[in-house]
Symmetry: C2
Subunit: 356 residues, 2 copies
Amino acid sequence: MQTIRVNLGPRSYDIAIGHRETGFAKFVRERVPNVSKAIFVADENTRLHAEGLAAELGGESVAVVPPGEESKALTVAARLYDQLAELAADRQTLVIAVGGGVVGDLAGFVAATYNRGLPLVMVPTTLLAMVDSSVGGKVGINLPQGKNLVGAFHQPVAVWIDSAFLDSLPDREYRSGLAEVVKYGVIQDAEFFRWLEANADAVVRREQVAVQYVVAWSCRLKADVVERDEREETGLRMVLNYGHTFAHAFEAAGGYTGWLHGEAVAAGMVCAARLSERRGLIQGEVTARMVELLRRFGLPTVRRAEWDPEALLTVMRRDKKSIAGRMRFILPTQLGRVAAFDDVPEAMVREVLAAP
Amino acid sequence: MQTIRVNLGPRSYDIAIGHRETGFAKFVRERVPNVSKAIFVADENTRLHAEGLAAELGGESVAVVPPGEESKALTVAARLYDQLAELAADRQTLVIAVGGGVVGDLAGFVAATYNRGLPLVMVPTTLLAMVDSSVGGKVGINLPQGKNLVGAFHQPVAVWIDSAFLDSLPDREYRSGLAEVVKYGVIQDAEFFRWLEANADAVVRREQVAVQYVVAWSCRLKADVVERDEREETGLRMVLNYGHTFAHAFEAAGGYTGWLHGEAVAAGMVCAARLSERRGLIQGEVTARMVELLRRFGLPTVRRAEWDPEALLTVMRRDKKSIAGRMRFILPTQLGRVAAFDDVPEAMVREVLAAP
């Protein structure tokens, strides 16, 4: 069992990473000694596992939500509020999210807002949730008008990662998670990027040692960013959005059923790198290495041909990072380093989107 | 115009207190220089005023919610989310609450959660909102199962108080607000309590100088507590709940339509003082002075005779401050000072409730 510390002063916490480790109850009780009771939140896919952990912790209750993005909704949050009220939850009642990003974001939002904040434990079960959404405190739900429009910053008190979940994760979902892993290399750590290039086959084969290293190092890199800008106030945390302005447009173009988030991020990162080339910030070789690595991970690197560049551009202009209608891009300036630019001509973005 | 500073590090803000002062737009723009647009939230009673302020700020939009406690609901919050989405709100979009506690709590909760937090300006229009709910960052909505069960801590960036609103406030509402004012004297400031005794008639007549002093000093006293325990973590902020465990039971007994919050707090404070007497912490003279002052303010000092003490006790056991079912009370140890006690025998509480 490996432990990674996220240093956020009074809100610091540990991420435990292991493979079929026992000791979940002990791990939780050490970190939340005053816990009065707990509610597990799971979906149909993770329900059995949540029930197992609940039994280990001493017969706590399990709330099950439908699987899929539709559960990140106010109506589903309202049902969880009801269940907390039925339990007579107090401020010592623990919320434990067992699942992927949807369950974590939803349960996290409910924990952030019930009684003005309940302690939250994350048990991510997908690669994407392990390396991204369960670390850093962003929680939220969707509105019909947009994803994650309602949310909060609410750090967990602990994160428990069992990499055994990855053994049975559908291939496409596993590969999708790897896109965010590649991202950490590109934005923060050229050495990690090189490690991924050298070990791509082992990673794809999900060899235990390689997988654990990928998860642990990604968590460490994300924590480094979150520690320096917990609430997205200094602009530093924005580097995590590398490739995401393009990605959100790809997701929207596919009606959120076309590409998985990681697939959209993969192609989005390549677009941002090409933008960086055109701005003269990097050489084509950097982009070529990204494209090669993403391909080995079975990820797309260009938009689907049927998506109209002009329509994609319209979505991008509405991006949350836009200020007064001007798009802001995170662009690589070398492998392992990025910076924010808000003076990219729209024509340049159009060219990149239109490229085959 | 008088200004009170609430010192909370990066979340510090000013409370401006005046009487028909102009300069609202300047006050806001000085504090939120990057504001892109604003949405005012008001109810039917404060709509006109909100429209006036909106015009002053440059034609911003006004969202109107039904008056009354029923608006502190998820469904009403959802409508405000929709309006923010329609406005294409970004993180620089300001939410400005113009109204009493309901509007402030609701708009504050929406501001706390939309886009993970929008800047919030409070324009309280009732005495209770001026001296209590608009200062300190507690925002929230009700569930059918209980009041304020869903919420957050979200400090405003500024509070603008125009005491002219108090000139037209219904008498009962004005007097209800005075209960929280008396509370600050009892829990924190014996000198202020004596001032209230000496100036009770001027306060009841709503003489401008007296009213402004009451508002300003109450805000200062509440800020002192909030500054030392912003998120109710050290237990210190709990002193503000003096009288409230009893009060919540009185409000519930009246089906939330019997007593106003301040009326319930008035009688609740007297109950807590009698408990303190029985514990031997204070002399009967302290309670007698409280009863006298509250009566001069036209506030109740004993429960309504038809409310069954046993039923009240049942509600009190469910109080949020209870830990493992044990009630916790804030009790005066002398005029101007209180402490928390969780070892009060239930029989003693029953006696106090049963006393005529």
